[in-house]
Symmetry: C2
Subunit: 363 residues, 2 copies
């Protein structure tokens, strides 16, 4: 290995005190509010907000109040436990809807946090009215995704009984809304219309993707999720997240030197390698490796070798000076670009964001 010039003059090296060893995750709450408002302006309907999975990994305690202030009155979570946490954040007033419905064991949470379960089955309906007679609920219908909600036959049998109990809304979910040309969209729309024909209850079919499909898909309430957080398919979303990772050290390696676990990259020429704090334990999905990039002032800095648990290594040979931080997500690389590095979708990049980062909220 080439010898590096060593500067051992102690006095010449002031200790910096404004840095950290963990990455900095910056979350722009104003951008989230702006994205909600932009999606709200696209429809004549009410606009809710999906804040499940800790507001897609960005922090329900900070994100939900911003959405409430922007105007959201209908919030959606995946499970009752999330609804309890959200009620503590929001206080009374906004409606908190639970996609998984009323599961065994949920009654106390649903009552005490005043949650509105989206009933998915006849069994859930029965359990709900037995445990919490008169408590609010919505209904979820399966229009073809075959994941949550009542099938047409089940719905036909339950419909009159359920409607007599005054449901708050009837919802379904699109399987292919991210692909506007997919015939499944129109097919699900038609089934949703058939299943809810003649019913005077607010209806909701669309998350972000469905909202972008146009007015036919809006019904009474849209419920965007990923679009709020700057992810595709809402191409005009304001970016919300940036992620800057500290450089721990740099080294020169000779041609033929291997870098990282299993010698995952071999230097084709003399190179300078930086070791950066951040790894798959921080949500830098391990499938991302050679081919991924960080950036510095818009210049790409290639990841070399495997992502390890706490560290990644990058090729900084072409930089005149190695900065204290390199950026993974930001104005030069979106959440969706990073998702492509890992062969996945922006949603997973968001929800994988780890707990070790220093989280900074722009307000």
């Amino acid at each position: 290995m080439p010898t590096r010039a060593l500067a051992l003059d102690l006095a010449a090296h002031p200790v910096k005190t404004d840095a950290m060893t963990t990455g900095t995750l910056t979350i722009d709450l104003n951008a989230i509010a702006a994205n909600w408002s932009a999606l709200n302006r696209m429809t004549a309907s009410e606009t809710g907000a999906v804040v499940k999975a800790n507001a897609y990994g960005l922090g329900i305690e900070r994100v939900a109040p911003v959405l409430a202030q922007a105007g959201a009155r209908q919030f959606f979570v995946a499970v009752a436990e999330e609804g309890v946490a959200l009620r503590r954040v929001l206080g009374s007033g906004p409606e908190i809807n639970v996609f998984s419905g009323h599961m065994p064991g949920d009654a106390d949470m649903i009552r005490s946090a005043d949650l509105t379960p989206m009933i998915n089955t006849v069994d859930q309906m029965i359990g709900h009215v037995e445990a919490l007679p008169g408590h609010r609920f919505g209904l979820q219908l399966n229009t073809g995704m075959n994941r949550l909600g009542m099938d047409p036959a089940e719905w036909a049998a339950l419909r009159d009984i359920a409607l007599n109990q005054n449901p708050t809304m009837i919802i379904s979910h699109l399987a292919c809304a991210d692909d506007p040309d997919h015939p499944m969209n129109a097919a699900q729309l038609e089934i949703f219309r058939e299943m809810t024909a003649g019913i005077n209850v607010p209806r909701s079919l669309s998350a972000t993707g469905g909202t972008l499909l146009g007015p036919d898909y809006h019904f009474d309430l849209t419920r965007p999720g990923v679009g709020l957080y700057g992810g595709m398919p809402f191409v005009d979303a304001q970016p919300v997240v940036s992620l800057d990772l500290p450089v721990i050290q740099t080294r020169d390696v000779s041609a033929g030197s291997a870098v990282g676990y299993a010698c995952g990259w071999v230097a084709p020429r003399p190179s300078q390698i930086a070791t950066v704090s951040g790894g798959y334990a921080d949500g830098l999905i391990r499938a991302m490796g050679n081919g991924a990039t960080l950036t510095h002032k818009g210049r790409k800095v290639p990841v070399v070798g495997r992502v390890s648990m706490d560290l990644i290594t990058v090729d900084v040979t072409h930089l005149e000076q190695v900065p204290e931080h390199l950026q993974l997500i930001g104005m030069h690389q979106s959440v969706d670009t990073v998702a492509e590095f890992a062969g996945t979708i922006g949603y997973e990049v968001l929800t994988a964001l780890g707990s070790r980062y220093d989280r900074v909220y722009i307000t």
Copy 2:
């Protein structure tokens, strides 16, 4: 879709109250202690414990005290922030070593939590002795992984100065220890010996994989990580983790019906599909899809369609009765089996385990 028999007799459906909608992650602390002891018995050296990344996702507050009670006195974390959290858990006494060394901004944490940084560069050495003169530190050498630690030339220049400051230990890390036949292992061993020849300071080269390579690799201290938590390459590890996911609902689908996002699976025959609580926001890595399985009493239950954020769908056609929970990780499928479903390694499956689970510790 076939019509299901509907049971609308309210009184016949008692509400269960002992379940939850989130998965149950069971962590066997006794198995972690047993794995530490088994790895400790393999060597004549001291045995430390790597508890970075929140003890590989399993919870540092519960895991670290168990390792301390088993006998570990040398703990390892990735960054100073983790060391601060660990010191609160362990109290004074055990040594807490920080792999990333002494980074700008770390001095207050290192002093107040009495951490021992593993110095990786000349700059870190200078920063450390300037900011915290006399404070304990170790040294990390690069023996070929080219990720962390001083290169041979850098080390040659710093060696005498550093040794005069009484380092606690000298460590390095193997790049290919999971592959016993890889020539890199012997090469790194040789370089580590050369770089530390004639030095009377405790030495450590091996994590779990290196420990299994035999006594040449043990030196004064081994520092197992993944082996403690039941992951490969420690094939005799006691399993530590089991993960049981609640079934939210089941439905019959006809042949040709699609399931999940982007119609990711199409039923080849009439099938019964269960929707299970747990998705990539819970660390069920999205790359895992068709081809993965859950289990019920040892019988495989195939995942069908895409993993979504909070839910997965599985084919339960062959089960006589659909249970309340299906298992992803446990005695029938190890962490490493699940890793293969996602094209990754057990380490990532562990560190990805999400925060929504109900965590139950076996003590």
